[in-house]
């Protein structure tokens, strides 16, 4: 072994030791954070983790037991929850569509090379950041105060959030799009709208649709949660059923089942559709 080789080996070993030290330190800090965080959360919770742990299954057992004794009611209960479910789905769909359209506009306005007013790009970006950071529940509760309870408040709240969330993703996609078609269109005298519509939209459409579908999944969950605080739909039914308590647990089970089934079905369909959109029609091999 030559002197340089030894030098190199030593350097390498020193580097490895340093890396290990840093890795170990980060691990220690992480474990400490998790442990202290858990203790704090446990202290500030009404019931402790270890007292509650064995009770996790009590509530599901209780409601399932009641639902089983009244199993004859279940089809009727399921059927009764369907209109509310449709409302929840409608809230999610409208806010995805309107949010998607708004996000398209915002994305184009905040993407370099496409924006009609390049100087305002940072303004639109900040706007999207704020809309994204604003939790739906805040907007929804304020709107419930202004408009009264019901699906419209929830819809507007989710739409506002979708503007920001989708806008950011859309503009990331648009940023990576090829500007040559745009230049080509410009050379034949196309206007700004024509350049965007014919040069950019066809390139980004698959990815944008895929993100919009993902947002739809997220919005269904959000819409169910907002229902719980008064914005209509299946969440509201769940809340009333829970407030009734014992005696209405068959409704609770029906709503849980319906919500679960909806989410699984929509997730599966949208998963496949997204795979087709992004990977060009093939589900990747090995997936079940």
């Amino acid at each position: 072994m030559s002197a340089t080789d030894i030098q190199m080996t030593e350097n390498y070993l020193a580097q490895t030791r340093r890396k290990r030290l840093y890795g170990g330190l980060i691990l220690v800090i992480f474990v400490a954070l998790m442990a202290s965080g858990f203790t704090v959360a446990d202290d500030r919770n009404a019931g402790g983790f270890f007292e509650g742990f064995h009770r996790i299954l009590d509530f599901p057992k209780e409601i399932l037991a009641e639902a089983l004794t009244k199993w004859r009611n279940l089809p009727a209960r399921l059927w009764a929850a369907v209109p509310a479910l449709i409302e929840t789905l409608n809230v999610a769909a409208v806010s995805t569509v309107v949010g998607g359209i708004g996000a398209m506009v915002l994305a184009v306005l905040s993407t370099r090379g496409l924006a009609p007013w390049p100087r305002l790009i940072p303004v639109f970006r900040r706007m999207m950041d704020v809309m994204r950071a604003l939790p739906e529940i805040v907007t929804a509760l304020v709107l419930i105060y202004l408009l009264g309870g019901g699906p419209v408040a929830g819809m507007l709240a989710i739409t506002l959030h979708s503007f920001g969330a989708l806008g950011k993703l859309f503009s990331e996609v648009a940023e990576n799009s090829d500007l040559k078609p745009v230049e080509g269109l410009q050379s034949v005298g196309a206007g700004w709208f024509q350049r965007i519509w014919l040069g950019v939209i066809p390139q980004v459409a698959p990815n944008w649709s895929s993100y919009a579908l993902l947002r739809f999944e997220i919005n269904i969950r959000a819409s169910a949660i907002l229902g719980f605080v008064g914005a209509g739909g299946i969440g509201y039914d769940l809340k009333t059923a829970l407030q009734w308590g014992t005696g209405r647990y068959d409704s609770v089970v029906a709503i849980f089942a319906l919500l679960f089934a909806t989410i699984v079905v929509v997730d599966t369909i949208s998963d496949r559709a997204r795979a087709r959109l992004v990977r060009g029609g093939k589900l990747d091999e090995g997936r079940i």
């Binding site: 704090v40 009404a46 996790i56 959000a222 719980f228 969440g235 989410i263």
Partner: protein, 455 residues
């Protein structure tokens, strides 16, 4: 396009082929055109259906524009109330009408002049002036309008407009109540109460409450006090006294708000990281290339789907029953859903790793654990870290929502403030805090991702 149709027609048999292709192309275009038209039409039809399904006309008809006005005004301004109570025969000047913001009876703000008994003179913006006189009579001198007299006679409230004036739209009258709303001030009289509200921009007593010696000082004075002036409180330096008065401000409760915000971030952190820690080992068992046993793999996949499918809403309901309200319940709800999501993502990432690295490590005689440590983890770590950081950021926002449901963190404070329907300035404060925190998490996680994953 150098090929002309005649060139193509030269070869026998090409003609029908070309015609068929042209036909196919034209049909395709026609179909695309129709589809391009159909999409907006379907959306329009759906929109019309929604207008009826959600009964938009009724909802908008029932909207409360006065609520919106109050809310917007309260977001950025506060009101000081001068109220005369007939029952107790007392006049009280209080910020936001709260006990904690009440001025001492002998030291009202400089725009309120107390006389004897009911008599009070109030100076208002724009040269307006309100006087509470004896026997429940109030005179309102409104510039460009004249002198309005409001009085209680028997059970009714009476209004006298200046001669020759029609009823303006900013006065509303009923038998039991007269209110005057001038934007930057409001007046109302009922049988039991005479009230005047004057609005000021800003958030009242945000730094120091009235009982703090630092209230009403300018930033310059405060700096002087903090740096070289004599101690106000002999027990501690001024700067410490200021910090303590600010932290224990009993109108804005800064310490409680800070704790709540911390709780929210904690919920997101514990939930995300806990989910990652549980999902990682399970992901190995759910990946095709690590677990040849189909039964385990498939049942784990279904388990992940189940965790994801049971929405956060359902988890919060179930977990609240076991653990009661609080941040722990919230973080467990996040943990449950995200274990499913991470399990799915990590196992997919595992299936997509490059087998050559593992083979290379294997060729040196490494055992299973070493193959995982040196062949798999280095490929997997960037994916996992970037997902974890991304979810940490998005869960900070979800934790606000979940906090509102399980009763923990800033979400709880927020719902409480909204339910009172009057503490809108507090709502605004919390919203600004949440937005700043989420944006900070976004920036930090973006920075960490760039720092540790790409560079």
């Amino acid at each position: 396009m150098s090929l002309s149709t005649t060139d193509l027609q030269g070869a026998t048999g090409a003609k029908p082929d070309l015609a068929a292709r042209t036909h196919a192309l034209v049909t395709n275009f026609r179909w695309r055109k129709r589809r391009a038209l159909a999409v907006p039409l379907v959306l329009l039809a759906y929109g019309i259906y929604i207008v009826f399904a959600f009964d938009l006309a009724t909802v908008l008809g029932h909207a409360k524009p006065d609520h919106a006005r109050v809310l917007l005004r309260d977001f950025w301004s506060y009101k000081t109330q001068v109220a005369y109570e007939a029952r107790s025969d007392e006049t009280v000047v209080a910020i936001e009408g709260e006990r904690r913001g009440t001025y001492p009876a002998d030291a009202p703000p400089e725009w309120v002049h107390r006389g004897t008994g009911q008599h009070t003179e109030i100076d208002l913006p724009g040269g307006a002036h309100v006087s509470y006189l004896a026997d429940r009579v109030a005179k309102l001198a409104i510039p460009d309008f004249g002198l309005v007299t409001v009085s209680v006679e028997g059970r009714d409230v009476k209004l006298d407009l200046p001669p020759g004036r029609a009823m303006p739209e900013w006065i509303s009258v009923s038998n039991t109540r007269v209110s005057v709303d001038q934007g930057d001030w409001r007046f109302s009289m009922t049988r039991n109460r005479t009230e005047t509200f004057r609005y000021f921009p800003g958030w009242e007593l945000f730094f120091f409450t009235l009982d703090s010696p630092f209230h009403g000082k300018s930033p310059g004075q405060l700096a002087a006090l903090a740096l070289w002036k004599d101690r106000v409180n002999p027990d501690m330096p001024n700067i410490q006294a200021m910090a303590s008065d600010f932290w224990h401000n009993n109108m804005w409760h800064h310490s409680a708000v800070a704790w709540a915000m911390l709780e929210t971030v904690l919920m997101a952190f514990l939930g995300t990281m806990g989910a990652g820690m549980i999902a990682l080992p399970l992901a190995f068992l759910a990946a095709t290339n690590f677990t040849p046993l189909n039964a385990i793999r498939l049942s784990l996949r279904r388990f992940f789907d189940f965790l994801r499918g049971v929405d956060g809403l359902i988890w919060t309901v179930i977990l609240s029953r076991a653990f009661g309200p609080g941040p722990l319940t919230g973080s467990l709800a996040i943990l449950m859903t995200d274990t499913g999501t991470f399990g799915k993502m990590f196992s997919e990432a595992l299936e997509n790793i490059d087998g050559k690295q593992v083979e290379g490590v294997n060729s040196t005689g490494a055992n299973g654990l070493q193959r995982a440590r040196f062949g798999v983890i280095p490929q997997l770590a960037p994916v996992i870290l970037s997902q974890l950081l991304y979810y940490l950021e998005s869960n900070t926002r979800s934790a606000t929502v979940i906090g509102a449901l399980v009763g923990g963190g800033i979400g709880l404070l927020l719902t409480q403030a909204i339910i009172t329907q009057k503490d809108w300035e507090e709502v605004c404060y919390y919203v600004i805090l949440i937005v700043l925190t989420v944006m900070a998490m976004d920036t930090i996680s973006g920075w960490l991702r760039r720092r540790f994953i790409k560079g």
